[in-house]
Symmetry: C2
Subunit: 455 residues, 2 copies
């Protein structure tokens, strides 16, 4: 593996220049005016795969944003790794909280600052460059396929159908993904569990127009007050979610499992300090690691209604809305949870308003078994470059498509991410460590080697 | 009074053209970028008062928007009417709900459609034209003073001090105001009660940035969820406000008063139909007329936090905010209510967030006694032009400055407004009936006559 390491060292500067080109494309999937940027980004990646050594690379259309597919087949009798990543990024608002242009990468404090620097352009691009390094040094030990989608941040809507239509082309032995974080730079980890997600939107409509709050105040239901009551009622004073049936199927950990689970290092004071909060808050009777790893949650992601400008306006808003999402754990079906949520809101809403409840997107929870050979290969690869055995980690996040891969393609995934919590993905001032980027490129070829040897 | 009526008839078209010029000035006091429009509007009114026959008219600076003062003194031994009105208007958002340009008046269905058509440019301008008609026909029976302010919609902040500094200049026997509505075109009324107002803003801050709702969901307090709980807790299931001390000093009506009070015509089915709602909602044990007339209320006027754009964004917002106002009745002190609100929110907020609570503006409730000679003059004037004796009306709205006039200037006010509920003041598509506008101009000179005769 010496040649690979040297190749990476010799090409560091070019790798960064290329990544910066990719980062400059504002590929925000949630906002339809960025549609041309999605196409541009996909085409850029197609060329990048060809330049890295792919035999074939295509921008494949879907009903939404295209999927970039690429492959290099060296020998059909050898195993095949299917790399998954996404080139779409989150919106950048509130824009005024960014310390530099969200789409002009800058290097500062040994980090790359830009939307997508980590999630997931930075992490996906590590795979392209690791692939290039193996191809150019003649060390690629197996077949490689890439699928890079443009809708992960909005629920991967088109990828499900695309996978179903391309089952044959996507045949593989393992799916390899870098879209997660390490517990810490000194505590490498591999994500073995992901929470599922059900993302809802609730719209409460009262009077047919904004009303004068003096002339009508006290006599007519205010949709914003009603929405607040509906949201407040979704959790109780113990931090439990009150939707009937919500916890059906959720398994409680055994005492032994809990002990193991809480072995991951966690420093509450540093956690609070990093977030600038005086107290944490969550479901009674669980630790923070359990609350995000194995317990479901419910969060308002956005809320709006009435006058939100400067000064005052004395109105009863005609409408108020909220985006509310729930993280799910094994045993919970995301579609069913959406139905329960909708039925519950419709039941508890007063007759003085109309409510509209819709599911925007979602996905099932996922678990990687620790006895999977590919998981063992990933453990060895990280142990080699980090000098420490990585811990299994149960992330609170969701990559809804991962459980679908198993269902549609019949293939398990390895979630070997190199991000850190401080990368502030989804927030203003996202960043990715230069060390993380290059350590990732260096680690991946070891995975290919150990995985192929094992097969 | 025949000459006055003829003069109005002969000048109808010009009166409207002038009003349209006034309406075209987008004098939104809540938005600081409209500052130049405020100045322009004040200067326009100054010239309009001089043209109507004032001896003197000035644009008088304040710390905020200027006050337009004008007067015509015919004889110091005669009584003096002080006309109050405001030239500032409410913001126009949501702009896309307007059927025509908010600042380009159009006449349709015998109504003037424009922001400010009623509140309060249309109603204030009736006074200028009624004054002109009396001056030009030699029938003005007393002295007249005008004060037209530019901050009513944002709490009249500068007018309090301006009144204190100009007490002598403003000496008068009665203050006459048209900034309220009739119960209906067939049910004329004079507003005898106004609710007070305390307008608050609450900001809930959690983590120091937006967080990924997967990685942190369930473990960290979500400011939007907390805000919803805080708001939900401000009212109970009987529609009562739960802030300790809130109802102290609020007097319950006697059985007899309630009977009288509920004599005003009210058609619940028409009310619901006009607002497009299936059920009304309010404090248990009170009628709709009581709920808006003599009971306090609490409304969210605006709420915002997190991602409110198209699609989805999986974040825990770092902040969430709401504008919340309370309408008050006699016995409640608006400053004290603001303090109680702040103390209550600070007490019930969990330690997992920080809250900032501020009073944006407010004003005291007001009542006009029905045995006041000026009130009797107003009743006779309206009876003359409407052919029906007007009812006393307790409006749910607030004109905070009215109670301050009594405190600072020692003078009572008559609230003789000519608007209708359907005028949609403060909403998109505000309008004012042409009949209302001209009936107002016709009625006001009768008030001057009867009031001067009585004195």
């Amino acid at each position: 593996m010496k040649q690979v390491k040297e190749y990476i060292a010799q090409n560091q500067e070019r790798f960064l220049e290329e990544l910066f080109e990719l980062l400059r494309i504002p590929s925000i999937s949630a906002q339809s005016d960025h549609k041309p940027d999605m196409i541009r980004c996909a085409e850029w990646l197609r060329q990048s795969l060809l330049a890295a050594g792919a035999d074939r690379a295509e921008v494949m259309p879907t009903a939404g944003n295209p999927v970039v597919y690429g492959e290099k087949i060296i020998d059909r009798s050898k195993p095949t790794v299917l790399v998954y990543g996404h080139y779409d990024v989150m919106p950048v608002d509130p824009v005024d909280e960014w310390k530099s242009d969200p789409f002009e990468p800058v290097i500062k404090d040994n980090r790359i600052w830009c939307r997508g620097a980590d999630d997931d352009k930075g992490q996906s691009f590590m795979h392209v460059k690791a692939f290039e390094a193996m191809v150019r040094t003649g060390t690629l030990p197996c077949n490689v396929k890439f699928m890079l989608e443009g809708e992960e941040e909005i629920g991967s809507a088109s990828l499900y159908k695309w996978c179903e239509e391309n089952r044959q082309m996507l045949s593989s032995d393992i799916i390899l993904v870098s879209d997660t974080s390490l517990i810490g730079w000194d505590t490498p980890s591999i994500t073995c569990g992901l929470r599922g997600l059900t993302y809802m939107q609730v719209e409460v409509t009262g009077p047919n127009k904004d009303l004068h709050s003096g002339l009508y105040g006290g006599a007519v239901a205010n949709p914003a007050n009603v929405l607040a009551k509906l949201i407040a009622g979704l959790t109780d004073e113990k931090g439990r979610i009150t939707i009937p049936g919500f916890y059906d199927g959720v398994r409680e950990l055994s005492a032994e499992e809990r002990t193991d689970f809480n072995k991951a290092p966690f420093d509450l004071e540093r956690y609070k300090q990093a977030l600038d909060i005086d107290e944490i808050e969550g479901e009674e009777g669980y630790t923070t690691i359990e609350r995000t790893g194995v317990r479901p949650s419910l969060d308002v992601n956005g809320i709006w209604g009435g006058y939100t400008g400067e000064g005052t306006k004395t109105i009863i808003p005609g409408k108020a809305s909220a985006k509310i999402s729930m993280r799910l754990v094994p045993g919970q079906d995301w579609v069913r949870i959406g139905e329960l949520f909708k039925a519950h809101i419709e039941k508890i809403a007063p007759k003085s308003v109309k409510v509209k409840v819709e599911t925007l997107h979602g996905g099932a929870p996922y678990v990687t078994p620790s006895d999977l050979p590919a998981y063992q290969a990933a453990v060895r690869a990280m142990e080699t470059t980090f000098g420490k055995k990585p811990l299994p980690y149960y992330s609170g996040g969701s990559i809804p498509i991962i459980s679908a891969f198993e269902r549609i393609l019949g293939v398990k995934s390895i979630l070997m991410g190199f991000g850190l919590d401080c990368d502030a993905i989804h927030s203003p001032n996202e960043s990715y460590g230069l060390d993380n980027f290059f350590r990732g490129i260096e680690t991946l070829p070891y995975f290919y080697r150990y995985f192929s040897d094992n097969k």
